[in-house]
């Protein structure tokens, strides 16, 4: 192949631009607006919405924004997207409108718990875990049952190997007996783990028995389990035992219900096929046989001799009443509520009531008439705990009264929560009065505060703080009461004039707490209230008090989690950081975190919240100092073992801080801040990048202020900025980031007329290219860097156009330097990056040979001005272009094998398009080359057909608009095959 020469086409950019400009047309529509109109329904007035209408709407609006799963319940839907305050309002409305909508309630009774209960109702499942964690024992437990005698049964199996017939018969009979009656036996000396394991086994045995159709056995297990609940030999474990055993009972209830439901297939009118009952069935749909089975269950349970098992088992299967009569729940629940009166032990009775309230709210959340009697009975019998029998038990088990009382709280909490759920204010007051009248016990006050709507408590804060004060000292520990009270006030605000009084009252008592654990428990809660409602003075006082209490004996070491939570609570409400850091006790509070990891955690909390809430820039020296300290701590915590994610979080926080600091027009101080920051955060790439960017921005801001006309002072300043960048960039670890920043900083330097600095940046970047690793990790994946490098080089080439040559170092020395580096760069064998870059350099060379360049930098003379279209200069460029064309053609030649034909044709096409747009095809050599390239790209029919058509079109259009014969000729020579 002959060597080809490159002839650039001279272009008049202005003329081209005016020719290609399209006539503007006013637009009436936003072009990106979606054609689809989505109607978003507004949900207000939850009171009015009824089940039917809403669910109908739901179906007709497939694009509606509602969750289709929640569709069945108008209430839960209505609460979506409503802010919490109006939600409470709505809740009150709903409660008021209950009687009206009761016809719907009946249909919905069997609907699940979540449908009817809003999120303010703490579900049992969450309580369960807390109870299990809280009420434990190290005492030995015992279990009485006939279903766990695994070891005995093995013995029987061994015995059956005896040979005589009579023995066999006897053994069989024994086995039968064993199965029928069960040798009731007591297992003694079980540890808590063993006990839990046994109960799990019982649960499993129940399910197994059920699956094997041994329903009577299953019932027996249920009965024996509930019998365990009457055993109060290890009282501290009772609440946990209750949780474990009621789980079994729930399982039993569910099994019975499911089985009945499965049995209750009915044949709807007009079809012969039995159909399963729908989820919300009415008793008339239930066939007689299923009803009979159901009745049998209840008859069987009614004949259980002992009170406690009878109560629990019936409560467990109460859901099955729905097969019999539509309104049975209310009666049954009420009867069971009264039945609890027969339970003598107050603790057992309280938990029985709790279970009743639990199943009640599960099967029929709307029925509440059993709850008040339960509560009344509880209050009436509460005095029993002073009675002899209870005192005897406590004495025997060596349990103090306060500890005993805490055992009640889960049951009482739950009972009160059920009572208070959706209750009117009047009802709540009534309950409160009752509790007060009966016994102003700490236990009750605590439970009321825990269970009632916080709004209600908050409105009567002073009354409650009085009540807490008046409570007897022997009851529940007072710090628990203060804690609960604090929790309420955090959720709802007390009336304005009471705010301070309440705090004073409470804090007077809290500050006297001697035990640091008790104290911090209260302080942790109350700090929220203080920060929310009070100013700097009060916050400072409280923090000072906390520090005072935590310092003796290094008590803080044991309460890092609480202290952390205090810090984060302060930050949730206090977003004015200059105020916060100005508190003279805040930093000492942070100083209390002395263990490294906790300290970092605390600092991170502060930094993140600063990042999140500090929206305006600041130059407050206190904030800067404090944050600098905090960020420095974070920065220093990063080491080789730090996780990538954690590092990212820290980097983000620090960057956020850096961005937030602004000294306005005082650029010098800004720069000195950046210098200081670089000193502190030298190990984090991201932060250094941020700093470099910030400094570059500072340069640009300076340029903007002086409107491009640098004075001596500003020129010196921008040079200082450039110097800052030049020093900072090499300390980055990522070569790619270095390259990017070099280019950027170079561009900025150029803009600010710092030619030598700019040159230095560009040179540095060129000399860095060979160091770019072949692979780099991006978003956790390893990627080849070559595509990135190509992009980078193209960006660089575009910049080269405007870099004025240094008179001391020859024409286009920057480009030469780049080309030299690229020449030596070890490219990937399977890619054509080099050729692609060369093609683009051809475009650059054409652009550089124009009389006036396509773009310029204001106040910077590029090569067009410098050389003034000098012949010698142009020849130099042409020489380079010639070399490049031949380099590309050589590369094309290496791609002639069939496997690489696709690549070959793609490069040929690229080159062809470059020639067409930038080359002078009137020159014979180039037009021949064009035709050759065209046929080359079609040689293996591997070319992208669409691209070829586009190219051809382009040439034709050029021929038409410019009416250029040369293009017409070329177009006629290019034939599209296939």
């Amino acid at each position: 192949m002959a060597t080809y020469e490159w002839f650039q086409k001279s272009r008049d950019y202005e003329a081209e631009k005016s020719r290609e400009i399209l006539p503007a047309e006013p637009a009436t529509n936003h072009p990106l607006k979606s054609i689809l109109i989505t109607e978003v329904k507004k949900v207000n007035a939850p009171v009015k919405s009824t089940t039917k209408s809403t669910s109908k709407n739901e179906i007709s609006d497939p694009l509606g924004s509602f969750d289709p799963l929640g569709a069945s319940d108008p209430l839960s839907m209505a609460f979506e997207g409503v802010d919490p305050l109006s939600k409470f309002q709505a809740e009150a409305n709903v409660a008021a409108s209950r009687p009206k909508s009761s016809s719907f309630d009946k249909e919905k009774r069997s609907s699940s718990l979540n449908d009817e209960l809003d999120e303010s109702f703490e579900p049992w499942a969450t309580k369960k875990a807390n109870i299990l964690a809280k009420y434990t024992t190290s005492e030995k437990l015992s279990i009485t049952t006939s279903f766990l005698s695994a070891s005995d049964k093995e013995k029987v199996v061994i015995k059956t190997q005896t040979t005589t017939v009579s023995d066999k018969v006897k053994n069989r009979l024994e086995q039968l007996d064993d199965f029928e009656e069960g040798s009731v036996q007591q297992m003694l000396n079980l540890s808590q783990q063993d006990y839990v394991k046994r109960i799990d086994e019982l649960n499993q045995a129940l399910i197994n028995a059920w699956e094997k159709d041994h329903r009577v056995t299953a019932l027996k297990i249920a009965i024996q389990c509930s019998k365990l609940l009457s055993d109060i030999s290890v009282i501290p474990f009772y609440p946990s035992k209750f949780v474990l055993i009621t789980d079994i009972l729930d399982t039993f209830g569910r099994l019975v219900f499911d089985r009945l439901k499965e049995k209750a297939q009915y044949i709807p009118a007009g079809s012969g096929v039995p159909v399963k009952l729908p989820d919300k069935f009415t008793p008339d749909q239930v066939p007689e046989s299923a009803k009979e089975t159901c009745r049998n269950w209840f008859f069987k349970i009614a004949s259980i001799r002992e009170l406690i098992p009878r109560f629990y088992v019936e409560a467990a299967i109460i859901k099955s009443y729905s097969f019999l009569r539509p309104n049975d729940y209310a009666d049954a629940l009420h009867r069971l509520a009264l039945m609890c009166r027969g339970i003598g032990d107050p603790l057992v009775a309280a938990y029985a009531r709790c279970y009743l309230a639990r199943v009640g709210i599960m099967v029929a959340p709307s029925i509440t008439n059993h709850l008040m009697p339960c509560l009344d009975d509880f209050l009436k019998t509460f005095s029993q705990i002073q009675g002899d029998s209870v005192q005897n038990i406590l004495a025997m088990q060596k349990l103090e009264m306060p500890r005993y009382l805490t055992l009640f709280s889960p049951a009482v909490d739950w009972l009160l929560q059920c009572c208070a759920h959706r209750a009117s204010d009047k009802l709540l007051t009534q309950i409160l009065e009752k509790c007060k009248a009966q016994c102003n016990s700490a236990l009750l006050v605590n439970s009321i505060m825990a269970a009632f709507n916080p709004q209600f408590i908050a409105a009567r804060s002073s009354m409650f703080s009085e009540m807490i004060k008046d409570c007897e000292d022997t009851g529940l520990p007072k710090h628990m009461l203060y804690r609960t009270h604090g929790l309420c006030l955090v959720m709802a605000d007390p009336p304005g004039d009471e705010k301070l009084n309440v705090l004073n009252d409470v804090w007077k008592a809290v500050t006297k707490l001697k035990n640091p654990a008790d104290y911090i428990g209260c302080a942790e809660i109350w700090i929220d209230y203080v920060v929310k409602h009070f100013g700097k003075r009060e916050i400072n006082t409280i923090i000072a008090d906390i520090i005072k209490h935590m310092t003796p004996d290094r008590a803080y070491e044991d309460f890092y989690p609480q202290l952390l939570s205090i810090v984060s609570k302060i930050l949730v409400h206090q977003h004015d950081f200059s105020l916060l850091f100005a508190l003279d006790k805040f930093m000492p509070l942070l100083d209390m975190f002395q263990r490294e990891s906790v300290k970092v955690e605390a600092c991170r909390t502060v930094a993140e919240s600063f990042f999140k809430y500090q929206t305006e820039t600041t130059n407050d020296p206190i904030v800067i100092n404090a944050m600098m300290f905090i960020c420095k701590t974070l920065h220093d915590s990063v080491n080789a073992l730090t996780l990538e994610d954690e590092k990212r979080v820290i980097c983000n926080a620090i960057c956020g801080f850096i961005r937030c600091i602004s000294f306005g027009r005082d650029f010098e101080q800004q720069l000195s801040f950046y210098v200081e920051a670089r000193g502190y955060f030298s190990n984090l790439d991201t932060v250094l990048i941020q700093l470099t960017q910030s400094v570059n921005k500072l340069s640009m801001d300076t340029r903007q202020v002086v409107k491009g006309n640098h004075s001596r002072k500003t020129a010196a300043f921008v040079r200082a900025c450039a110097a800052y960048c030049f020093i900072t960039i090499p300390s980055l670890q990522s070569v790619y980031s270095q390259l990017q920043l070099y280019l950027l900083s170079g561009q900025v330097a150029l803009l600010n007329q710092c030619f030598s600095q700019g040159d230095a940046f560009f040179k540095a970047s060129i000399s860095l290219i060979p160091d770019l690793p072949k692979q780099m990790e991006i978003d956790g994946k390893t990627r080849a860097t070559e595509p990135l490098l190509i992009d980078y080089i193209l960006n660089f080439i575009s910049t080269i156009l405007i870099i004025p040559d240094n008179p001391e170092s020859g024409v286009m020395y920057m480009l030469r330097g780049l080309l030299n580096v690229l020449q030596d760069y070890t490219w990937d064998h399977t890619s054509d990056a080099k050729a692609i870059v060369y093609i683009k350099v051809l475009s650059l060379l054409s652009a550089a040979s124009q009389e006036s360049y396509i773009y310029h930098i204001d106040k910077v003379d590029s090569n067009d001005k410098m050389y003034g279209h000098d012949k010698k200069y142009l020849n130099e460029l042409k020489g380079m272009a010639d070399t490049l064309v031949n380099e590309i053609l050589n590369h094309l030649k290496t791609l002639s094998s069939p496997e690489t034909s696709k690549r070959q044709s793609s490069i040929a096409l690229d080159l062809l398009s470059t020639i067409v747009s930038h080359g002078d095809i009137s020159q014979k050599g180039l037009s021949t080359l064009s035709v050759n390239l065209w046929s080359l790209s079609q040689k293996h029919s591997a070319a992208d057909n669409k691209q070829m058509i586009r190219l051809l079109d382009y040439i034709k259009r050029k021929a038409e608009t410019e009416d250029n014969k040369i293009y017409k000729d070329l177009a006629s020579k290019l034939r599209l095959e296939s």
């Binding site: 046989s289 004949s303 009170l307 406690i308 009878r310 009166r341 027969g342 339970i343 019998t381």
Partner: protein, 296 residues
């Protein structure tokens, strides 16, 4: 192998006089089944029995303790022949009519008195194979015209003074229990209800129970034997309950083991309630209340 089974149409198997007892006989066999005829019979009897302790005394009564038949039907459903392979269903209907001069008492399973109704199928077969038989009990309830329960509340107070047959009065703690049964005439389907208040009690209470007792009397002109046995015992209070708190009395009458109070020439079935209070030292006091059960 062949099996025979009876399936009644009504799931609860409960019938009243004049009703038609309808159902099907199901014969399942592998291969053709040769038989000597299939008979269906319905019978209802009162069975009387004497308790062991009275056997000596009333040996003379043996004659009068024959079962009293109340209903007895028998008919041949299928003539001797063959039944086909597989499942054969033979429907039947029998009217429920007593033997002339007898009344159909309600089904009752007691200790000494039993009122039981059965439907029975017999398949006679040749000498070589066993006869097949299947029996199925059904339940008889009174018709609607029986007398209605008239509510009759019973108020009671139990104190050491009200107790009869106490030998050592000084062992009895001081106590006062007031209470009320909503009615002593009770419809058998509805529960026994009432309440009870322990006003004071000097000793701890362990348990309060309601005991349902049947009193069965078998007799004739020459004499009678009366026996009281427990049917069920329901605990209504467990542990030392709170004083002055009304504890509900509630008991459902078990099916089959109770029937409307019955009094005939030959036998009587009556019911009583005992309220049993057990103290912590396991002493117990009992108060007895006769009750009358009715169907309606």
């Amino acid at each position: 192998m062949a099996t025979i089974d009876i399936r009644l149409k009504k799931v609860n198997k409960t019938y009243r006089e004049g009703d038609v007892v309808a159902g099907i006989i199901i014969v399942e066999s592998k291969g053709v089944l040769q038989h000597q005829g299939l008979t269906l019979s319905m019978d209802g009897n009162v069975n009387l029995q004497l308790s062991a302790k009275s056997v000596g005394m009333f040996e003379a009564f043996y004659n009068s303790l024959k079962p009293i038949p109340l209903i007895n039907y028998s008919l041949e459903v299928v003539k001797p022949g063959k039944l086909p392979n597989g499942k054969t269903e033979i429907p039947f209907e029998v009217p429920l009519k007593p033997i002339v001069g007898k009344t159909l008492y309600e089904t009752y399973h007691g200790v000494f008195v039993n009122v039981q109704y059965n439907v029975k199928v017999d398949m006679k077969r040749s000498l070589l194979s066993k006869d097949l038989q299947k029996q199925c009990e059904f339940i008889v309830e009174y018709k609607a015209q029986e007398e209605k329960a008239i509510s009759k509340p019973v108020n009671f107070t139990i104190t050491p003074e009200t107790l009869s047959n106490v030998k050592e009065k000084q062992n009895v703690p001081k106590f006062k229990v007031k209470g009320r049964l909503d009615s002593s005439n009770i419809q058998i389907n509805s529960p026994l209800t009432g309440e009870l208040v322990v006003e004071n009690c000097s000793r701890g209470i362990k348990s309060i129970e309601i005991q349902l007792v049947r009193v069965e009397t078998c007799g004739c002109a020459e004499g009678y034997a009366k026996d009281a046995t427990e049917i069920q015992n329901i605990q209504i209070a467990d542990g030392d309950i709170s004083r002055n708190l009304a504890i509900p009395i509630y008991m459902i009458f078990p099916r089959l083991f109770t029937c409307p109070t019955l009094s005939t020439n030959n036998f009587k079935v009556e019911f009583e309630i005992n309220i049993v209070m057990v103290f912590q030292d396991d002493h117990l006091v009992t108060e007895n209340f006769p009750i009358k059960l009715t169907r309606f």
